[in-house]
Amino acid sequence: MRNVNITTILNRIGLTISLQIQTLENLIMSDAEAADVFKCPVCNGNITVGPDDVVITCTYCGSISTIEGVEIRDHLMEGAVDSDEREKGFRKFLDENKGFNKSLPVKAQVVENRLIYVPVWTAKVKADSWYKGYKTVQVPVQKTRQVRDSEGNYRTETYTDYEPGYVPVQDEIHTDTDERLLARKGARFYGLEDYMEEIDLADTETWNWEKIKDLEPAVLNAEIGSEEFEKAIHGRVADRHRSQAKSGLTELFDCRTNTSVRGTTYLQAPFSLIRYKFQGDLYKCAIDGHSGKAVLGEIPITTGQRVMWTIVGFIGIFLAGAGAELVYIAMQMAETDMLYLGGGIGAAIIGIIMAVFGFRTLLMTQREKEG
C-alpha cells in the first residue's frame, strides 16, 4: 500500500516516474520490479521488458533501441502477410503433401495462427581453415596362388587382393557464408531453424512498425547482443569446418580456423506456428511469415494410406525375394548370366526399400514434410 501512496503523491505534485503500474503484484515486490520497465528513448513510452532483453522494440512507436537507451536505426525487418494469406500458404502445403488423402486441405481446421517477430542476427562470415589428417584406401595388389583344377593338376593363378594404403591429407577449406542466429537464449520453436535458413536479406527493408502494426504481431526482444553473436558464430562455423574436414578422413590430426565477421545486422523476422486439427488430432506447421509459405509441417496419415503402404510393403517383400531368387539361380549357372544377376540385385534392392518404407509408414505417427 505504501508504494501506491508514494506514486499517487508523486503524480499529484507533477512528477512522472518511469515505473508503470500494471498489476497489483508488481507493487508488492517493488525493488525487483523497477528493471521490468524500459523507457523508450524515442517516444518516452513505458515498455515492459524481460530481465535479459538487450535490444528492445517499443510496443508503441515500434522503434528499436539497446537497453542502454540508444536507438538502433539501421536495422531491418521482413514484411509479413496477414493470417488469411498464411492460411492460404498452409493449405497449399497440405494440398502438395496430401497424397491419397484428398480431403486434407479442405478439412484441416486451423486452431492457432499467430504472427511472431523473432529477433535474428545475421552476418557474412568468411572462414579459412587449414587441416591435416589421413585417410585409408584400398590398394589393389596383384598376387599369385596355386590352385588345383578338376583334373587334379596344380597351376599358378594371379588374382587381385586389396591392402590398406594410408594417404596423408593436408587441405584447406574456404567459405564465405550468410550466418543467422536467433537472438534468444535457450529458445526453440518447431521449424524455426529451417525457417531461418529461408531468410533472404534481399527481401528485407528498414524497420517500419507502421507497416506491420495492424497484423498484431508479438515482437520478441533480443537477449543476445552483437558481440556475443559474433563470438557464437565463430564457434559454429569452426565446428562446421571441423566436421566437414573430418568427414572424408580416417583421423583428423589438426584443424585451425580463422573467421572474419562483417555486415552484422539485426533483423526482425516474421514467423508463424500454425496448429491444426484433422479428424480430431492435433498437428503443427511452421510458416514463413514473409512469403506465407510453409517451411516445415506435420502431415497426418489416414487409415487408407496406412493400408496402401502396407500393400506396398508386401509387394516389396515379394519383389526382394524374387530378386534374390534370380541372383541365386544366376550364381548356380556355369556361366553367370549378367542379366539375371544385375536384374536380381536391382529387384532385391528396390524390394527391400519398398518393404522398409511401406512398413515404416504403417507404424509412423505422422509424416514430416519440408515446404
Binding site: T23, E25, N26, I28, M29, D31, A32, E33, D36, G50, P51, D52, K132, Y134, V137, V139, P140, V141, E163, G165, Y166, V167, P168, R184, G186, A187, R188, F189, Y190, L220, N221, K231, A232, G235, R242, E251, F253, D254, K277, G280, D281, L282, Y283, P300, I317, F318, A320, G321, A322, G323, A324, E325, V327, Y328, G344, I352, L363, M364, T365, Q366
Partner: protein
C-alpha cells in the same frame, strides 16, 4: 515447516529444501530468511482445460490410440507444478598444453600414388586456448523427471516471479533444494567439462591447463508444467504438458485392444511364414527349395513380425518433438 521471514506465515518445506518460496507472499528466501531477488518465471499461456484438450488432441493421433479418447478420457489429477531451475552465465577461458596425434608415412604404393604402406603415429606437443560463454541450466530439485529436466525453457519472455500468477492456477511452487552457491558450483563444474570437451577435440592428452572460470549472473527461474493424470477404460495414464507453450513433454497413452490384437496377431503370423520360408530355403524341412527367395523374403518377414509383435505388446510413452 518453515516460517516466512517477510509475512510471518508458516508453510510446508521438506528437509532438503534450502531456497524457499513462501506460498502466501511469494517471497523467495534462504532458510536463514535472507531475501532472494534474482527470481523469475515463465508465464502460463495454457490454462488447465487448454492443456487437457491439447494433450488429448495430440495423444489421439499416436499409433493405436483409441478414437474416442478425447470423449471418454476422465482427468483424475491436474496439478500445476512450478519447477525451479538455476541458470548461470559462465565465462570460461582455458589455456592448455597437450599432446596431439600426428603421423609419418613410409613406402609409397607404386600403383597408387599418394598412398603409403606404413603409417607411424607420434605425439606432438600442441597448445591453444578457448574462450567461451556458456549458459548453464541446473534443475533445482533432485529426482526431477529426466524429460522435464531436458525440456528447453520456452522462448517466451521470462518475467520477474509473481506469486499471484502461480496462484491463479493453484500452482504448487517447488522450493529449490540447491542454494545459489551450490548451483554456481554445479555450473562451474559443467562449464569446466565443456571446456575439457573442447580441448579434447584438439589434443589427445592434456599435459597441463589453466582455467579461468567466472560464474556470472545466476538466477532462479520457475517453469510451470501441468502434471496430468487421466483414466481411460480401467487404466490410468500420466502426462506432463508445458504450461507456457502447450508442448507435450511426455505422455503415457492407451492403445486399443484391437490394435494390440492386430499387432500381436500379424506379428506372429509373419514370424511363422518367415520362419517356414527360411526353413524351406535352407533345407531344414525336406529338400532345399526357393533358396534365394525364402532367405530374403523370410528374413524380412521375421524382422517385421518381431517389430509388429513388439508394437502390439509394448506400453507406450510419447514425446512431442520441438
Amino acid at each position: 515447516m518453515a516460517r516466512c521471514a517477510f509475512c510471518d506465515a508458516d508453510f510446508e518445506a521438506g528437509p532438503g529444501d534450502v531456497l524457499l518460496v513462501c506460498p502466501y507472499c511469494g517471497t523467495a528466501q534462504t532458510t536463514e530468511g535472507a531475501k532472494f531477488t534474482d527470481h523469475y518465471m515463465i508465464r502460463v499461456h495454457f490454462d488447465q482445460s487448454e492443456a487437457q484438450t491439447t494433450l488429448l488432441d495430440w495423444v489421439s493421433k499416436q499409433l493405436g490410440a483409441p478414437e474416442d479418447l478425447s470423449a471418454k478420457a476422465r482427468f483424475l489429477q491436474y496439478l500445476q507444478i512450478w519447477y525451479p531451475f538455476w541458470v548461470s552465465r559462465v565465462d570460461a577461458h582455458s589455456e592448455y598444453h597437450g599432446l596431439g596425434r600426428d603421423a609419418n608415412f613410409y613406402d609409397e604404393w607404386p600403383q597408387y600414388r599418394g598412398a603409403y604402406k606404413r603409417i607411424d603415429f607420434f605425439w606432438k606437443p600442441e597448445s591453444g586456448q578457448f574462450t567461451r560463454r556458456h549458459e548453464i541450466k541446473i534443475a533445482g530439485t533432485i529426482g526431477i523427471d529426466e524429460d522435464i529436466r531436458q525440456h528447453p525453457i520456452p522462448t517466451r519472455a521470462k518475467e520477474f516471479f509473481s506469486h499471484a500468477h502461480a496462484e491463479e492456477f493453484d500452482g504448487k511452487v517447488l522450493h529449490s533444494q540447491l542454494t545459489k552457491e551450490q548451483a554456481k558450483d554445479g555450473a562451474e563444474k559443467i562449464a569446466f567439462d565443456k571446456q575439457t570437451a573442447l580441448i579434447m577435440d584438439e589434443v589427445e592428452k592434456i599435459e597441463s591447463r589453466s582455467d579461468n572460470i567466472d560464474v556470472g549472473d545466476t538466477y532462479l527461474i520457475h517453469v510451470p508444467v501441468w502434471e496430468l493424470e487421466y483414466r481411460y477404460g480401467n487404466s490410468k495414464y500420466k502426462a506432463s504438458v508445458a504450461a507456457s507453450t502447450g508442448y507435450v513433454i511426455e505422455s503415457k497413452y492407451p492403445r486399443t485392444l484391437a490394435f494390440r490384437a492386430m499387432g500381436v496377431g500379424f506379428g506372429i503370423l509373419m514370424l511363422i511364414i518367415g520362419g517356414v520360408l527360411i526353413a524351406l530355403a535352407q533345407g531344414l524341412i525336406g529338400a532345399a527349395m526357393y533358396t534365394g527367395f525364402g532367405t530374403v523374403s523370410g528374413g524380412i518377414l521375421v524382422v517385421l513380425g518381431l517389430v509388429l509383435f513388439y508394437k502390439g505388446v509394448s506400453r507406450k510413452e510419447a514425446k512431442e518433438q520441438m
